[in-house]
Structure formats: structure tokens, C-alpha cells
């Protein structure tokens, strides 16, 4: 599911991240999902086995909060309104809660494939 990303390469270089970070924050804010009370990870498409499994592995509270945010956003969308300022997602609340689980599942799948393709070399 995860799209190719330059984030790691940028974060590794402090000078570059110093330049890019303000732009990124501005972009995330301008994307508008925060005004509906969503987090970036709420926007990940659910229609894949990996994400479905990741959603099952969410802690109960996180899963509940996610459904709440989604329903609130639907309501806002239907009524063509934005949430009042104090209910909108603040930048520090917009942390990745789902993508670490997805990455873990992807790593497990990759390990599985690697083992399936493993070649045994016996020591002479």
C-alpha cells in the first residue's frame, strides 16, 4: 500500500529537512483533512488485505476513535461544513497510528516470501 516516499532520505539530512519541513507542514494543513477532524492515516484506502488485517490489529480505543473520526467527517462532508476550530485535528495529533502496523505486516509478508525463496547452501 505504501507509496514510494522521499521522507526518509530527507529526514536523514538535517539541512534538507529544515528546508522541506515547513513546506510539508503547510501542505498537510492545506490538504484540508484536518479541518474535518481526520488524521493522515485515516485516508489510507481500506480495500486491501494488508490494511484490513492492520485495522483488526488496532488497539480497541484506537479503532473506536478512528470510526468516530470517520463518521464525523462524513457528517461534515454531507452538510458541507467544516468543524469548529477547536475540534479540528491539531498538527501534533496527526501522528501515524496505522502505518507502523501496516509496515510490520508488509515486513512479515516480505520475510515469508524471502523464506519461500531461500536457497540452502550446505557447508562442505
Amino acid at each position: 500500500m505504501s507509496a514510494p516516499s522521499l521522507a526518509n532520505a530527507i529526514l536523514k539530512r538535517p539541512w534538507l529537512s529544515k528546508i522541506v519541513k515547513p513546506i510539508a507542514s503547510w501542505y498537510a494543513d492545506a490538504a484540508g483533512y484536518r479541518k474535518l477532524g481526520l488524521r493522515a492515516d485515516d485516508l489510507i484506502p481500506e480495500e486491501s488485505e494488508t490494511v484490513l488485517l492492520a485495522l483488526k490489529r488496532l488497539p480497541q480505543q484506537e479503532a473506536y476513535d478512528r470510526v468516530f473520526r470517520l463518521r464525523r467527517a462524513f457528517q461534515c462532508s454531507l452538510s458541507h461544513t467544516l468543524l469548529p476550530k477547536e475540534q479540528q485535528t491539531k498538527p501534533d495529533e496527526d501522528y501515524p497510528y496505522l502505518s507502523p502496523i501496516i509496515q510490520e505486516i508488509e515486513a512479515q509478508a516480505k520475510e515469508h516470501d524471502d523464506w519461500d525463496a531461500a536457497v540452502v547452501q550446505r557447508k562442505a
Binding site: 483488526k56 490489529r57 488497539p59 512479515q108 520475510e111 515469508h112 523464506w115 531461500a118 540452502v120 550446505r122 557447508k123 562442505a124
Partner: protein
Amino acid sequence: MISRSAVGRNAQLALRRQCCVKPAPLNRCGLAAVSTGSTSFSYESADVGGIKVASRDVAGPTTSLAVVVKAGTRYQPLPGLTVGLEGFAFKNTQRRSALRITRESELLGGQLLAYHTRESLVLEAKFLREDLPYFTELLGEVISQTKYTDYEYHEEVEPIIKLSQQRLLADVSDLAINSAHGLAFHRGLGTPLYPTSSTPLSKYLNDGTIHEFADTAYTKSNIAVVANGANQADLSKTVGEFFTGVKSSTDAVSSPASKYYGGEERIAHGSGNALVLAFPGSSSFTAGGSYKPEISVLAALLGGKSSIKWTPGFSLLAKAASSFPGASATTTHFSYSDAGLLTIQFTGSAQAIRGASTEAVKSLKSIAEGSISKEDFTKAVALAKYRALEEGQSTDAGLVSTGAGLVHGGQPFQIDQVGKSVEGVTAEKLKSAAKALLDGKATVSAVGDLYVLPYAEELGLKV
């Protein structure tokens, strides 16, 4: 398979010639390389950095290595924790994934097992002798670095616990044995081996409680590493190297000393009948002082299942049950670190069980009165001795009983001493043991058709 026509004749010849010229390299377990072991059946034990290590260097190319943990159902602080901990064996650890553990063990030809008894939780690995370091490291890692993640609990451990609950509910013999243990010992040893289907698991069991239990159970004073077919020096060295991550803890897992209560329980059940008559038995040999060999002779004398073919055998219960077709009787002696339970179990149709159990109590009374022929007594002693020795000789039972003996502060299973103590049983001792059983309180649990199955009082037993 490559078909004959697919491979040209020349290729076949070449293959064959290659084999003749250069014999295929011996696989790493070349038989000639091993067999350094002695043929002694006694365990050598040692203390490696606070961990008890015992091994028996039986000659042969394979090794079985077990970590015996004092964490059986007797010691679980909440119902189901032992089964949960067993389910988490060989799951993801900090250093490698469950998948990697499985695949690597497969490549080395090893087998990994986890099982539990009422007193011990056993993590066992069986493998080729030269892979000892790998599997010692693996077991050390499993007990000190397992992650206990919540998703593994929900996706892999919990469904299996639910299945084992259902299996237990359907099995009348297991229900009766568990019920007898519950009646005889109440808490501690009386806890069922698997949580019963009505145990509210979600209340007690989750990855957090299992992790906490693991932290108290997998500690240095609480485990013993036992091996069959490994050199004591090698084992001590690898254990010293790879079990460094195991914590030493001050608050050890404990359970109050077992006390025998006795009583009667009747459970209605639709699929099958079972009746268990149980009496206080003897603790296991490894416990030391409270070991009573006459109980195992009594178990052999009562018997039930013939040990040879085409005859009901000499045992009293087999004779008693033979006049009630459809009933089968078995006598089992469950021995634990500080108590034991001698059980006579009947299965079959309710009517037949009723008849056979009445006869069985009569034959127990006849033993108590001393009207047992000299010949039967000799046969019983020989059978009891054989069973005790065979148990010590067999790898699995020997591993568990030695490990349990070590973690409970006793001695390893010493096969020659067991044989001697069983030989020392006299007819007089047997008679007084049987008399003591009948005078004390019995445990009777009936599962099945309660309209027909007898009450303890009808059988002439005190509860």
C-alpha cells in the same frame, strides 16, 4: 519425479558414475561422528549460573532438550495462564520472528514442542546432536525474549485455547479425571489441565497477563534444563552462554502445599459415561521422602488393561470387568511433587460401569483384607518395577520427571533407585496401604448418565 524418458541415458549413466566415484558427502549427522555417549541411564545434574541443568549422555545421533518450568496449571495465578504461555512458545521474539524459528528448525530437521502437565510447562526441542548450540540458544531466547504481542494472542493463541476447551467438554474421561483432581485437591493440583468451557477467559487472559506470568515463571530458580543424548559439559557450556538473558527473581512462583480433601461430584453428560474412583496416592520418586512405592504396586495389582495379548491378564480389575462386557477399567497413579492420586477409571455403558465399579471396590477390599495370592503379588511387583523403569528410560517421561524433580528442589530421576524401592514392597505393606485408602475419604466423580451411574455410598466408599 523425473521420468526415465526425460533424462537421457547418458545423463543417467553420468549421474550413476558420479555417485560411484565420489560417494555423496555424508550429511552433517554422519553416524560415525557421534555416539560419544555412555549407556548410563542416570542423569548428571549441575548448577550453571543459578540454572539447574541435568543431562543423560545416551549414545545416539539425536538429542532431546527441554526447559522444564515450574508453571503448570497448579502454579497459574489466574485460570488459563499456563495454556496461554504454552501457546506463546516459539512465537515472535525480540530477535527473530516465529516464521524464522519454524523455518530454521525445519531446515535443521528439528522438532519443537510445548506442552504442560499439572506442575510443569515443558518447552522441548528434538534435533541432531551437533545442533545443540543452535537449539539451546533458541530455547534461551524463547523464554527470555518472547514479545507476547496482542495480535498473536488474538490471532493464534486464543483460537487454540477455545478449541481445547471444546475438546475437553466433549471428552467424558478427561472431564471425570479433572473433576476428581478438583475434588481431591480443590485449588492448586485441582485446577483443570485446560480451562473448562465455562471459565470466563476474557476476564483473566490477555497478552498482558500472560506476559506478567512469563516474567515470574521464566526465572532462573524456576526452570531446569534437561537433555537426553547430550554431553553434560557441552550442555553446561551452551546453557551458560545462551541463558544469560534469563532473569533471576526473588518472588518465586508458589502454590500452597497440597492437601487431600476427597468428595463426590456428578456431572450429567450426553455423550458417554465415565466414573473415576480416586484415593490419595504417593508423590513422585523425585520428591524424595514422601514417595511410597507400594501405591504403584497397588496400581499394578488393580490394573485393568492387560499388558500382554490374548488374555485379560492377572489384574483384579480386568477380571472384575470381564464379566461386564462394554466396561473398561484402568488404574492410573498420578504422582506430583508433594501428593499423588491413585485413580480407577471406568468407561463404557452406564450399566456395565455400575457393575464393574461395584466389583472393583470389592477387590480393593479383598486386598485390604490380605486375601491376595502370592503369585498375583509377585506379578504386580514385577509390573510396577517394569513401568517405573520404563518411564525413566523413555526420553520424554524421563525429561519431564527429572526437570520437575529439579525445579521442585528434589533430585533427578535415578532409575536404579526406583527399581530397588519398588522391589522392597512387601505384601504386608501393600495390605496396610489398601486399608488406609479404604479407611480414608474417597473421591468419586461420575460423568454421563446419572440415573444409572452409582453414588459413592452405593459402592461402599466413604466420601
